[in-house]
């Protein structure tokens, strides 16, 4: 099979990931296009693409999820490949198939593998049958009538998950049998709404677990390698906000075992392209397969920082039919990398999403600092999409240096006009347990009080002075009176 270079690439995504993919595509001399809904304003990605294609739909999100619409614009523009990014249609086998029928390549694995891994129950069975570890569980479809009973038999606490799920949506922890029915009903509703599929399964919930994932890569010549692990345990509402590599908890032996398990699963699935195998890692060093994401991850840059590989370039090469062309032993990691997700949200109000306009934007820079941004100054941030605005990624010789650089990068990051989590992220990095690498997915909840920032000193006089001196009415009122009388103002009224 002779490699077929990609000449025209459509990025069927938006925000920081679209911008990030476009940068690699441009560097490879590929002509690019991006999609956008008429209701969307601004965004960095449209400025980086050669063309911007309008996709229609009742809402912006609906347009990004519309397979026929994406295929239509890809065909009309003459794309020879579509990169789906993450989220939206990135794990949608129908898109992969529809593109193939249109003679357009999908930058990702085969539709069959997407389907296998997208169905969490089939994926789990696939992994068990091939001898890889999974957590004790009960599956609704096996016998819906006895599901609640079998769920309890798994042993409390349990975690309810939608069969078609991902990204933390519809997941519920149950510690008390009396609320099981109600939680199952809520999870089913959410599953139906987000995935059009209300089927559920439950798993034993590992208390204070870590979430460790492994980057895998396969080519169309049968080779599969891994790019090491990422530690993703710092989460709020089952969603990651800080990721790092290497994981501070893995010994070289454990690292070898978990990475080999991931590569083994990918090999068994004849995996092609970039994928991530996620594991739950217990306090005793036990690990269970959680799911496989058949796409590029949000946190892929930390792997790029330590290995020196451009994973998007690798995706495009594999899609073109090239062999990976290197051995597992040639993939080595240097130093330590941390990613911080800058989100439009208010950590003091339960991380509710915030909206507003970015009136002033300053991004971090300096040695070992990379910013993958999707926004620009003057941009309005609405509630139509995920609150992720940009990612700050740092690299250091060791974890200590990486943390120090990350903290400085956060202080150098300013997005004025919208509430963000930058100060909160800095407090997480400053927490002694984070510094010690001693944290689990429960970390943010357990340390909520310490991370609230309530005891952070406020530079009150500076803020008051700034607010008064930048107020036209207050300044005018003071300057319109001759100085001698104005000086009396304090006690005159």
């Amino acid at each position: 099979m002779t490699p077929q270079p990609i000449r025209r690439l459509l990025v069927a995504n938006r925000g920081e990931i679209a911008a990030r993919i476009l940068r690699t595509a441009r560097a490879r001399g590929i002509t690019t296009a991006i999609v956008r809904h008429p209701d969307e304003e601004g965004g960095l990605a449209p400025r980086l693409a050669d063309d911007c294609l309008t996709i229609n739909g009742p809402t912006p999100v609906a347009a990004y999820l519309d397979v026929a619409e994406i295929v239509r614009v890809a065909r009309e523009w003459g794309a020879d490949a579509v990169h789906p990014g993450y989220g939206f249609l990135s794990e949608n086998a129908r898109l992969a198939r529809a593109l193939a029928e249109a003679g357009i390549r999908f930058v990702g694995p085969t539709p069959e593998v997407i389907e296998l891994m997208g169905d969490k129950i089939r994926a789990r069975n696939f992994v068990v049958e091939r001898g890889f570890p999974v957590a004790p569980s009960a599956i609704e479809a096996d016998d819906p009538a006895t599901f609640a009973q079998r769920a309890l038999a798994v042993g409390l606490p349990i975690l309810i998950k939608p069969a078609a799920g991902g990204g933390g949506k519809g997941m519920r922890i149950v510690r008390d049998a009396s609320v099981l029915e109600a939680e199952l009903a809520t999870a089913r509703r959410e599953g139906e709404r987000y995935f059009g599929d209300g089927r559920l399964f439950v798993e034993r919930y590992v208390e204070r677990p870590r979430h460790i994932e492994v980057q895998v890569f396969g080519d169309s010549h049968g080779k599969v390698v891994h790019f090491g692990e990422r530690e993703c345990s710092v989460q709020r509402r089952f969603q990651k906000i800080i990721e790092e590599t290497p994981s501070p908890v893995l010994t070289p032996e454990k690292r070898g075992a978990i990475c080999e398990a991931a590569a083994g699963i990918a090999r068994a699935a004849a995996y092609v392209g970039a994928g991530t195998v996620e594991f739950i890692y217990g306090a005793g060093g036990e690990f269970y397969f959680l799911e496989m994401n058949t796409r590029l991850q949000v946190e892929h840059p930390v792997t790029e920082m330590v290995t020196g590989f451009d994973l998007v370039a690798e995706q495009l090469r594999v899609c073109e039919g090239e062999a990976l062309g290197y051995e597992q032993s040639e993939i080595t990691a240097q130093g330590h990398s941390i990613e911080l997700r800058i989100c439009a949200e208010d950590p003091s109000q339960g991380f509710v999403p915030a909206t507003g306009t970015i009136h002033l934007l300053r991004e971090a820079s300096g040695p070992g600092v990379r910013v993958d941004s999707g926004v620009h100054e003057g941009q309005r941030v609405g509630s139509d999409f995920d609150p992720l605005l940009s990612k700050v990624i740092v690299h250091g010789r060791d974890r200590r240096e990486a943390i120090a650089r990350a903290r400085q990068a956060l202080r150098d990051t300013a997005l004025l006009g919208i509430t963000t989590n930058t100060a909160y992220l800095d407090r997480v990095l400053a927490h002694p347990l984070f510094a010690a690498g001693d944290y689990s997915t429960a970390f943010l909840d357990e340390q909520a009080a310490a991370l609230s920032g309530k005891d952070e000193p406020l530079p009150l006089d500076l803020l008051l002075a700034a607010a008064a001196l930048s107020d036209r009415q207050m300044v005018d009122a003071a300057t319109s009176v001759p100085a001698i009388y104005a000086a009396m103002g304090a006690w005159r009224n």
Partner: protein, 168 residues
Amino acid sequence: MKKTLVIDGAPQNCALTRTPGGMRLLVGERSFDCALETLGDGRYRLRAGDVRRDVLLAQQGDQLWVHVDGRTHAIQRINPLDALAAGGRGGADSTLAPMPGTILTVQVKPGDAVKSGQILLTMESMKLEVTITAPHDGEIAEVLCAPGQSVPVKATLVRFAAKAEATP
């Protein structure tokens, strides 16, 4: 002119006054010299008493954002006359959207009597489903949203009827 500057929810009554050397800020009973000098491109040199910092500033209307010492602070400026006008409105209260998002279901209609904690409606913002409950017993006067509707943060969703005055 006096304004109320709200930082972290705490209101401070402030006024500027001119001094032979520059400006002085009066905050309640105390005061200190201050200065603000633009450096261009959103950067300013700020002085409050003896403390000097280079800061970033952005403002829109009465809202100001200050980035100082690696932290961004939001400050609301309130003109006391506006506050007085706003305070004069009716006795009925309402339930506001805690976040921007989309209304999923509305479970009450005008005239309904509701109990404290009863579900009024559900809404979704990105990946979070939130249940909005009645903050107290009362009667629904008006429902200002419908399923499928997008609402901004603090949009009025449901208005309660003013409590009937006890008639002697």
